[in-house]
């Protein structure tokens, strides 16, 4: 029965057939790798969209910020909205500024420190949001080939066991089992390669965005510090 089936290899070498022929361990590996691949691509797409959006938002905010509009007005418009990136940092800093300054803070130095802390916190949150899930890409990139190889080794093992049982070593007997086993490695590589490439690209993109936001926070901190000094001088 087996020999008859093996005599017509073309009918049983489509990818679907190979998958169906595989043992349950190999099947599990393949399904897992497929899921990893799907998730990887989901992250990639999501991140690409998020980063481009973030870049746009930063550009727009910088434009508005440096347009000469008063910070109070800007804060009033942004405070109600859900902000991201520089906007979030700006809002966090302004909120702290308002809270302390309107109530008449006595030490301008302490105020400066608090504002910096608030901005740092906002920046960290933003960065977390940007870099979140990139770790999965890294893991997939490094582990998927091994998982695929594991499936292959298991598949080849079982196919060799089958060969030993059939006591026939002709290539037509050996080939299907090995082809089916190699499919696992192929899927592993299919998942790993985009993951590695995307991880490298996305992490560098996130880094760039982070640097940009950090720069803004420093700049804004300097502006606020100047404002505090001016206010202190007016009071005096």
């Amino acid at each position: 029965m087996e020999n008859i089936a093996l005599a017509d290899p073309a009918a049983h070498l489509s990818i679907w057939a190979l998958f169906m022929q595989a043992g349950w361990v190999v099947k599990l590996v393949m399904i897992g790798l497929l899921c990893a691949s799907i998730w990887t691509w989901a992250i990639i797409i999501d991140k690409l969209v998020a980063y481009s959006r973030m870049r746009l938002a930063l550009n727009r905010f910088e434009q508005v910020f440096w347009s000469g509009q008063s910070l109070e007005d800007l804060y009033r418009t942004l405070a109600d909205r859900k902000t991201t990136g520089m906007g979030a940092i700006f809002v966090a800093a302004m909120r702290e500024w308002k809270k302390s300054f309107e109530k008449g803070a006595k030490s301008p130095l302490a105020l400066q420190t608090r504002i910096d802390k608030a901005m740092d916190l906002a920046l960290t949150r933003e960065m977390e949001r940007l870099e979140g899930r990139l770790g999965f890409l890294a893991t997939t990139g490094s582990a998927a080939p091994f998982i695929g190889l594991f499936g292959t080794v298991i598949g080849i093992m079982t196919s060799f066991q089958a060969i030993a049982a059939s006591k026939n070593t002709s290539l037509s007997v050996v080939a299907p089992g090995i082809a089916e086993a190699l499919l696992a490695t192929a899927i592993g590589l299919l998942a790993a390669i985009p993951a590695v490439i995307a991880y490298n690209k996305l992490s560098s993109d996130a880094n760039k965005l982070g640097v940009r936001m950090e720069g803004f926070s420093d700049e804004f901190s300097a502006i606020l510090s100047r404002q505090i000094d001016e206010k202190v001088a007016q009071k005096a």
Partner: protein
């Protein structure tokens, strides 16, 4: 995130669907319908072996040596050649026509004999002429000349009778006959006068002189024993003759072996010659055959008694076996162990085994005609 996930799932579904349809199943490899080729694993030695044959001939399945011209006289001959015996000598162009040589020598003899028969003086001349005949080929010459004698001559019967036996018998018999010859001489001296009247019967006297010359030759060329016995007789009869004979070119030429050299074996073949070399080569004793031989020699081998550390010696002994597998000549030490006793023990082993009868593989005489055996006590005696 939801957009990313959904788009990813859609993307994968599309890719898988595309893959399932386009990569459904690879086309079977185009295996052309070629007849399978049988592959033999041949040891290199088999290729290196060349069998006797013709260098320019086409390769035949069955190797056949160059056919020879002579009819098949030696049925199981192994060597190529035109010879009547199977020898290892290389083939030469000229075959040896043995009988022709012998018959060619006597003809000059009869012509001179006629003259002396008439004259009494020239007798000494007759003597040298027959000498070569007796020296080179004693058997044929007398027979031819003897035949006429009995018919023509009635008186000289006794010498004639003696003449016939002389060739057949040995030199010792000739000595005895010398004495009657002396008498015959006397008779012959008388006879010429009788026979001079009848010139037709001139050759008749030949018979008489011959017995005489025979001793004379013996003097010049052969054993000194005869000289003592014969000299008195001859010297008495003719001292001059002996002086004249001291140098004679004819005698030297007579001593030369005029037989043409001839070589080659006697392999007969009527088949078309197959591709091959001038002689079989490349054949070797197989490991098992060599081992069997060493086994036999080992059983005949006893190490010299009281030789310290004899198992550390090895000696290579070379010996020849003839066609029947018997030792030919004495085994020689090709690579000495440095200890003569040890070497001698190995030589003895070969000789002892030869007496017992060495079992050598049949049909490989080319190889075992010349054998080298490494006598190593560790290997052969298991020390």
């Amino acid at each position: 995130m939801r957009t990313g996930l959904t788009s990813s799932v859609i993307l994968h579904a599309v890719a898988l669907a595309f893959g399932l349809f386009t990569l459904s199943s690879p086309p079977a490899m185009p295996a052309s319908d070629v007849e399978s080729v049988a592959v033999d694993i041949v040891p290199m030695e088999a290729i290196a072996q060349t069998l006797q044959g013709d260098k320019k001939a086409v390769m035949h399945d069955k190797p056949a040596p160059v056919p020879t011209k002579r009819p098949d006289i030696v049925p199981n001959a192994q060597k190529v050649g035109e010879n009547t015996v199977d020898t290892d000598k290389p083939v030469t162009d000229e075959a040896k026509p043995k009988p022709v040589e012998k018959t060619s020598a006597p003809p000059p003899a009869p012509t001179p004999t006629e003259k002396p028969a008439v004259e009494d003086v020239p007798k000494p001349q007759e003597k040298p002429k027959p000498t070569p005949a007796t020296e080179v080929a004693p058997t044929p010459t007398p027979k031819e000349e003897v035949k006429p004698e009995p018919v023509k001559q009635t008186e000289p019967k006794p010498p004639a009778k003696e003449a016939t036996p002389t060739p057949d018998k040995t030199a010792a018999i000739q000595k005895e006959e010398v004495k009657p010859d002396a008498v015959a001489e006397a008779i012959s001296q008388d006879q010429p006068t009788d026979e001079a009247k009848l010139p037709n019967s001139a050759p008749a006297p030949e018979a008489r002189p011959k017995p005489q010359p025979q001793p004379a030759q013996a003097e010049s060329a052969k054993a000194p024993d005869r000289k003592d016995a014969e000299k008195p007789v001859k010297e008495a009869s003719s001292k001059k003759k002996s002086d004249e004979k001291q140098f004679n070119a004819d005698e030297i030429t007579a001593l030369l072996d005029k037989q043409k050299p001839s070589g080659g074996g006697a392999k007969r073949s009527t088949q078309q010659a197959s591709l091959g070399g001038e002689k079989d080569q490349g054949q070797k004793l197989s490991k098992s055959e060599q081992g069997a031989l060493e086994d036999q020699l080992g059983s005949c081998w006893t190490l010299p008694v009281g030789l310290e550390g004899s198992e550390n010696f090895t000696v290579v002994i070379r010996f020849n076996l003839n066609a029947s597998g018997k030792l030919e000549g004495r085994p020689t030490v090709e690579k000495s162990s440095g200890n003569p006793q040890f070497d001698a023990s190995a030589v003895r082993a070969v000789q002892k085994c030869d007496v017992a009868g060495l079992q050598v593989p049949a049909g490989k005489q080319d190889i075992w005609s010349d054998i080298r055996v490494n006598f190593d006590p560790r290997a052969m005696l298991g020390l």
